[in-house]
């Protein structure tokens, strides 16, 4: 359990670096969403290339971090997928993609950075998405029990 806390300290350090050096919030949905948008909008990309590149470097850094984890830990070996039903996974991905952009952020931007900066909207957002996630899991488990009983 302490590992979870240590992991959190490391995440806080990463977010602190991005704020203190670059003056940016470490919100993954905002960084990746803006990057994708600029990727398909050549005008915006050339007009603000610095805005495009730092986001690309951040995302590339996340991939590098993943490579280090896969080399030196068994993080990905232990990972247990919740479901592998492709329709559920695609629907979930679309909901997370649209929802985080529409909701001004995700777990990193609202749940960590926003709360730590005492931003009221981030406190609201975090309570809303955690509550919605809890309801979704409860319903999914109930449906699973029903279908399991029917077999």
């Amino acid at each position: 359990m302490m590992m979870a806390f240590y992991g959190g300290l490391i995440i806080g350090l990463a977010a602190a670096l991005l704020m203190l050096f670059n003056g940016r919030i470490m919100g993954v949905s905002g960084i990746a969403g803006t990057f994708i948008n600029m990727l398909f909008t050549p005008n915006a990309r050339t007009a603000q290339s610095g805005e495009f590149y730092w986001r690309g470097f951040f995302l590339f850094g996340m991939i590098l971090g993943g490579i280090l984890l896969s080399k030196f830990t068994n993080t990905f070996v232990e990972a247990a997928m919740v479901t592998s039903n492709p329709a559920v996974i695609i629907a979930a991905g679309l909901l997370v993609g649209v929802g985080t952009r529409m909701g001004w952020g995700c777990t990193s931007g609202h749940g960590i950075c926003g709360i730590a900066r005492f931003s009221g909207r981030s406190v609201i957002a975090t309570m809303v998405f955690i509550a919605a996630g809890m309801v979704a899991v409860a319903i999914a488990n109930a449906l699973l029990n029903v279908s399991g009983a029917g077999q």
Partner: protein, 149 residues
């Protein structure tokens, strides 16, 4: 070295450190994430501990930031959103949609991207759909703005 390049290097380091923190904290295992949301079942507190640890460090960094005239590598704090309570209904709906998708798969954007390295087909399906979702919302916003002017 141009300041854009140095800022990109800081972003690269932050991205790598972030992914390592997610891995150390057990957040790249969707079962842990879903375990936190499963309040009626076998509840797992890992995600809460990760958030507490990260918030403590970031809150301290924020106290430092409040005493700095500007970020170390930029001219002012204008790129940092101002804390506030404004959160319109559409944004609340977005948070609901996000929460539902998060509960369904056990992934939010950070872990989804950091887990691509696992080459797990479920992760790639999820992350690709999520990126499509990002872009769909960007297209929607663009249409709304072009109609407005």
């Amino acid at each position: 070295m141009s300041s854009n390049f140095v800022r990109s290097l800081i972003a690269l380091a932050a991205g790598a450190i972030f992914a390592i923190g997610l891995g150390v904290g057990g957040m790249l295992n969707p079962a842990n994430v879903r375990g936190f949301l499963d309040v009626l079942g076998e509840w797992k507190p890992a995600l809460m501990l990760v958030m507490v640890g990260a918030i403590v460090v970031y809150a301290l960094a924020n106290q430092l930031a409040l005493r700095m005239k500007k970020p170390l590598l930029d001219i002012d704090w204008s790129n940092l959103p101002r804390p506030g309570f404004d959160f319109p209904n559409q944004a609340k709906l977005g948070a609901v949609l996000f929460g539902v998708g998060w509960g369904m798969a056990g992934f939010c954007p950070g872990p989804a991207i950091a887990s691509l390295v696992s080459l797990h087909s479920t992760v790639w399906t999820f992350t690709t759909s999520m990126l499509v979702g990002f872009y769909l919302f960007a297209l929607y916003e663009r249409r709304k703005h072009s109609k407005g002017t």
